[in-house]
Assembly symmetry: C2
Homo-oligomer: 542 residues x 2
């Protein structure tokens, strides 16, 4: 990577006057890096090739209490929504091609049998739909940008899809307080660009930002890249407007930071994956957009040193630390092979880290970052590193982290686990998994082995690991070797089997590894309270 500054060199020159680094330009002037948009999303026409969820999970049976959609139902919805574009009718017409994209997920793992897609434009329309469906016992699935990873936003059988894409208005923004109010169907990137023009930042960022809906983000309590700095949606979301299964409109769209007047009901909708209500509006506190952003990329010799580097980053970068990402050597090798790009560093290392800072003063940030770099280099914690000098390099470095998913997708199938583990043992899971699968004879370089690679990366700053097992094709024996072993491993360390992706269909049967019987009983009680007919997003984890 020509033009980046190499720390080793900088360290050798430490007694010479430091060059004045100016940091990056205003973030609001920067185009969104291409790798952060959802480029890996496959063409939707490929949905037909996906195996039906009902076949992949034969234990799931259609609930016989649910009604089947009739022509009369379709007529009712047509009149209610009053527009051709608000409905895709596969019941009385052959609209299979139009409907299939709403039946399948982008990972091509889940596929339902729906014949009806509704696209309401207001909370009142959603309310009328739910009243009708609840009365008739018609099951429904709320769907935002359909970018989830656990099959939570697509039907399993013939549930009606309620898609939020036509609820896409930014309702208001107040620059003094930083409070944004949006419809549920506003795309995350659209909101963030809108805020950029007003010197603010959406406190959530994730790979799917170009497609995902804010309502879906809140419904799944999305984590992503800015959680380390701005905290979870349980803290930043100030209000939620949602429709309950019986059509009741919950208006909890407060724009106040402080409001201690009774139970904080909106919290129930955050992270419940659309099983209690359909979110139609969100208000959220947005921070001022940082004026300077820097990114550094390290090579390290051991996981212990990664932990030390993280400790130093927290201590020295403190309030300007905005990301601390971990990538193992194998994951970086995959990106190298897939993209053909030259490695950012000269040697190869078993571990790499990406450290990002965001602050209001470029000079101050650079000074802090340089002091941090000199200390981790001087103490031998970091073996080598580079610091992005301009926007191109900034994007290029981020691509080594964000390109992993795409690199893996070129290899065949991937078993993906998104887990929380206390930091001391975070990476141990990857080593233990690789050792287990190797001992069992599954891992190898030639095509006779089902497993190509066992790699680990993730949001180190949040104790959030992505364990990925790249396979030449999906293989039942490999699957049996991983599950439930991986969940038992996590349970022993009081970790979480789903850090940020949620449960959906994928982890439905494994929830017991992260929640005890009492908690499960309490959850079920709530589900029964709000949705006694069970029509809202059925067959999922609850």
């Amino acid at each position: 990577m020509s033009g980046t500054r190499n720390f080793a060199v900088a360290l050798r020159r430490a007694r010479m006057p430091k060059p004045r680094l100016t940091g990056r330009p205003l973030v609001s002037q920067i185009a969104v890096p291409a790798t952060r948009s959802f480029s890996q999303r496959p063409a939707l026409r490929a949905t037909k090739e996906i195996k039906y969820t009902s076949d992949a999970y034969p234990s799931l049976k259609r609930n016989p209490n649910f009604a089947e959609i009739t022509a009369e139902d379709v007529k009712y919805f047509k009149e209610l929504l009053g527009s051709e574009s608000a409905l895709i009718d596969g019941v009385t017409t052959d609209a299979t091609d139009d409907i299939e994209p709403f039946n399948g997920d982008w990972m091509r793992k889940y596929r339902g049998h729906t014949k009806l897609v509704l696209k309401p434009q207001s909370k009142d329309e959603v309310s009328e739909i739910m009243k009708y469906c609840n009365g008739k016992k018609l099951a429904v699935v709320p769907q935002g940008g359909n970018t989830g990873l656990v099959g939570g936003s697509v039907p399993v059988f013939d549930e009606i899809v309620i898609n939020t894409s036509r609820m896409n208005k930014i309702r208001s923004f107040d620059e003094a307080s930083g409070v944004l109010v949006v419809d549920a169907g506003v795309i995350l990137e659209v909101a963030d660009q809108y805020l950029a023009e007003r010197h603010h930042l959406f406190p959530l960022d994730l790979g799917a930002k170009g497609s995902c809906h804010i309502g879906g983000n809140v419904a799944t309590n999305a984590g992503g890249l800015r959680l380390l700095r701005y905290g979870s949606l349980h803290g930043t979301v100030l209000g939620v407007e949602a429709v309950l299964p019986d059509g009741t409109i919950f208006d909890g769209l407060s724009t106040l930071r402080k409001n201690n007047t009774g139970y904080d009901m909106k919290q129930l909708f955050i992270g419940s994956e659309g099983t209690i209500g359909i979110i139609t509006g969100v208000s959220i506190l947005c921070p001022p957009r940082p004026k300077a952003v820097n990114v550094a990329y390290f090579g390290l010799e051991s996981y212990d040193q990664v932990r030390q580097a993280f400790g130093e980053a927290k201590k020295q970068l403190s309030e300007i630390l905005s990301a601390f990402e971990l990538m193992d050597g194998r994951s970086q090798k995959l990106v190298h092979t897939s993209t053909g790009n030259k490695y950012p560093l000269e040697g190869e290392y078993p571990f790499y880290c990406l450290v990002e800072t965001s602050g209001s003063n470029a000079d101050h940030d650079m000074e802090k970052l340089e002091a941090f770099l000199e200390s981790v280099m001087g103490e031998g914690i970091v073996a080598d590193g580079v610091l992005a000098q301009d926007e191109t390099q900034f994007q290029s470095i981020w691509r080594w982290r964000e390109g992993i998913t795409e690199a893996l997708s070129h290899l065949g199938g991937t078993y993906k686990y998104d887990v929380s583990i206390p930091l001391p043992e975070l990476y141990q899971l990857v080593d233990d998994c690789r050792e287990r699968l190797t001992k069992m004879g599954f891992v190898g370089d030639d095509d006779s082995f089902p497993v190509r690679a066992v790699v680990g990366y993730g949001h180190m700053g949040d104790s959030n690991l992505h364990l990925n097992i790249a396979v030449r094709q999906y293989n039942k024996d490999v699957e049996k070797a991983i599950e439930p072993w991986v969940y038992e491993w996590i349970q022993k360390r009081s970790g979480s089997i789903s850090a940020e992706h949620g449960l959906g269909v994928a982890k439905k049967e494994f929830i017991g590894y992260s929640q005890n019987d009492t908690n499960l009983k309490l959850m079920k009680q709530l589900k029964d309270l709000y949705d006694p007919n069970g029509i809202l997003n059925p067959y999922k984890y609850i």
Copy 2:
């Protein structure tokens, strides 16, 4: 205030070389300022002078479904808790003097009739108590440090007090992640001192820190002085352990930042004021302790300029801004009269602000702060100001904000309103209220007028105003002139009638001004679900 630096002077010297300011020493070495401890707490023996809540609120009637405590019940609890110090028995002995402090609140506004105080030492003991009480229909009140302002933590009739003071262990702290796990009865200041020794900070700070319990803070979703920087407890609390009314132990004491495995049940307990369950343990994410803290104090000519100054502080101080407090001229005059201290600034102004920064680099913070000061002075937003140069001055400046409550308490009674209002109209409520009461002939300087002063101050950064009406004695006519007028005023602006103090008994009947009927119905549903007998903290807002 000798030794402080006056901005006006600094501004006149702007072309001269700036003096190198070193900022304050490490916060971890600083003793907790005296004004932040709970010095205003009156002697508990005075409880007997307080009017009974049941007399002050004659509409509250004892629920006839509740049993009365018998000698047999006391015997059961004695055997269960196994220690004399774990129980204060006013049922079979005359323990009135020992019991009264648990019946009354520190504001001397609320007083109950309990004859039994239990001090369990573990979640299991709390669980056994609740099982027994639920079976016998004995009503209970959970009580932490009893520092609340709305009568939420004391009995109204003969409810058994379950006090958390003997559950006071710090269970664990992990420096790498910053996660602290404590018993509910740990005092906030004790936890913060423990963290200070480990270079971390409790993300909540409030006047009552020397007495309040962390369990109570979480149960009431306390806001306080650090919310602007570290966010609400809904974001920082990672886990809650609680006992439900039927004795069920909810173990949601996760220490993970990310855990998307089903409904986030712990959120229900945060801010529900002990009406759903009794919190016995809390895990919370604690940030690194800032290495430098600075504080400045401004005089301003109008509320519009206060808003402008806040906007500039957000923009220029950004990630290091840790407090932006508003005090009106009248509130500062009260502190001046009460303490006899010399004003920090030479002239008198209708508005004052206190701006605090916390960061990891004293030089950087001072540079940002100076740039901010020069811009707000240069543009005429701020008329005059001082910057604390050492710890003594730091405490002295904070005392002008934190001494307001004490200054008011010397004047007689105070009608206190803790409200959220969108920023543009935040202070208007104080002006409108003063004008209303003046027009009605209630306000004046001599003793013939019931109202001495109508003052406003608060957490500007959180849109949180404290409206205080100082009266010579509590007066029904004044009260009728204020309520419900004040609540209607707030409702019209979509504000909150309780920003951070909660509802308790005090605002029980006014909840409808901040919550609509649907939301109230949903809250009541939850209360009935978890506490069908209604034994947990009855007669309060739900």
